[in-house]
Symmetry: C2
Subunit: 289 residues, 2 copies
């Protein structure tokens, strides 16, 4: 599943036709980005939008699956760092932004039925989930590595996939997550190649951000965590690793997708890869020191 292919497909006309184009003054870049997404004026990946604001992974499940998933996140905070959980049936997430409506505020969504992406041709992608909304849906927003990548770049630590304009390479590992009810999965990790000097600095910087995956879980030999070939990521795009670099691996917010595919709830909705929820939280506020 290559998200860069998916992003080109789903039409936005429906969204454009149904939502107003009010443009309030004095809105933040996060509010502007959300409004433009809500109005159908943005339908691609959110990387680079609203710099400084936290973006989040989104998982939506029926209430009778939400308890198990909440416990799964609690037990696995590195891949599943919870930023917010909604009330059942309520599409609002007031702690992340007063105007947020999770039904319209992501550029694209993926619907899963019984753990599989729903339908063709766009693998279940839609730009709006108002017609799929249920009054028992619970929304989970999880921290995402965009926050710490911004901090790395600001500190002069190069981030290869951003420099190359690619999606980060992600891999299934042999690291087991702690199971919770019907949810169980191995951990998915993202990889960034760094020199040892930059890796040490990146470990320091990302340790300050436990709510966006925190410190790496591994560096060096990919086989030690069950990865066969770095040039064949399970999600995202491959990037080269230079001779003077080591691959550094962080827990990844794609882990819940594996858990949901395995648990096979009758319906689940997630953000399309790279098409995150832009919140009003500041990245700097996620730093614990």
């Amino acid at each position: 599943m290559n998200p860069t292919q998916l992003v080109q497909r789903a039409p936005v006309e429906a969204k454009l036709a149904t939502i107003g184009t009010k443009t309030p003054e004095n809105e933040t870049t996060a509010q502007t980005a959300r409004r433009r997404i809500r109005q159908g004026q943005e339908s691609g990946q959110t990387s680079g939008m609203a710099p400084g604001f936290v973006q989040g992974n989104v998982v939506i499940l029926p209430a009778d699956w939400a308890g198990d998933f909440l416990r799964f996140c609690q037990a696995n905070p590195k891949p599943c760092p919870l930023l917010a959980v909604s009330d059942p049936g309520n599409p609002r997430l007031p702690t992340l932004g007063a105007d947020i409506d999770i039904r319209t505020d992501l550029p694209r969504y993926v619907l899963f039925r019984d753990g599989e992406p729903d339908g063709d041709p766009a693998f279940g992608e839609v730009v709006d989930i108002r017609e799929h909304w249920r009054d028992d849906f619970v929304t989970f927003v999880l921290g995402c590595s965009f926050s710490f990548e911004e901090d790395l770049i600001a500190d002069g630590v190069p981030v290869r996939h951003i420099g190359l304009g690619r999606n980060v390479p992600m891999y299934r590992t042999s690291i087991p997550c702690t199971g919770a009810g019907r949810f169980q999965s191995d951990m998915v990790v993202s990889m960034r190649p760094l020199t040892p000097k930059d890796a040490i600095r990146a470990i320091q910087l990302t340790s300050r951000f436990p709510s966006v995956h925190g410190a790496p879980v591994h560096f060096g030999d990919p086989r030690a965590i069950g990865i066969g070939d770095l040039q064949q990521p399970d999600f995202g795009d491959p990037v080269p690793v230079d001779a003077a670099e080591v691959p550094v691996f962080w827990a990844c917010g794609c882990t819940p997708q594996l858990a949901i595919r395995a648990a096979r709830p009758p319906i689940a909705i997630m953000h399309s890869p790279g098409c995150m929820l832009i919140t009003d939280l500041r990245n700097t506020h996620l730093s614990v020191i």
Copy 2:
């Protein structure tokens, strides 16, 4: 130069003969250790003495060399983290302990004349420097890795050379220090083999202790920093590196010795390797967070 050989040699009779054996009540383990050293009852390495208390590397130089050395330390805080500098001619270090007399409170000292250890048979080692003291001597106390090793062990990160009862392996590198006046040197590093998981944790833990060398300066390929053979350290003892481990390198307080050997001051006095100044500072107080 193997410090474990040196430690067996120098006699302690002179010290025993000249210092009283007063044993105040209610003294801390640091004060007890210093008193026993002062009284000649301890003449070996200080590793493991007075757990929880900061131990320091010691460099003593004539005042007309002290300014350059102070600037060298300031410019190279990772290998030369200054804990205290004395007034010229004053053997006291009141900020490190009210009773400290640097002329008697180390188990062993090494005298350097024109950058070379002075005399035989013990390479210039003495247990007391009262007869060598000058009223223009300035004492520098630098943080030492004992402090962070205690923190690693308390956190469950194994420290190989301690487990094996050896001195830490140390290496000259190709990493240049910033020169200051007559002092210039490449950096010396100490090495501890760790699994990637433990290395990540060790980077976090040691980052909290900038005054005792702080985070590592390198991990992985020794040749990247000019080290040819890990099994042939320039100072200390070799330790095995397992297949699942990477060597992790920290800046080392032996760096000043290289700088002093190269600068060739007419006289300099340093602690004998492993025979540190035990202070009243608490290791936990050196943590910046």
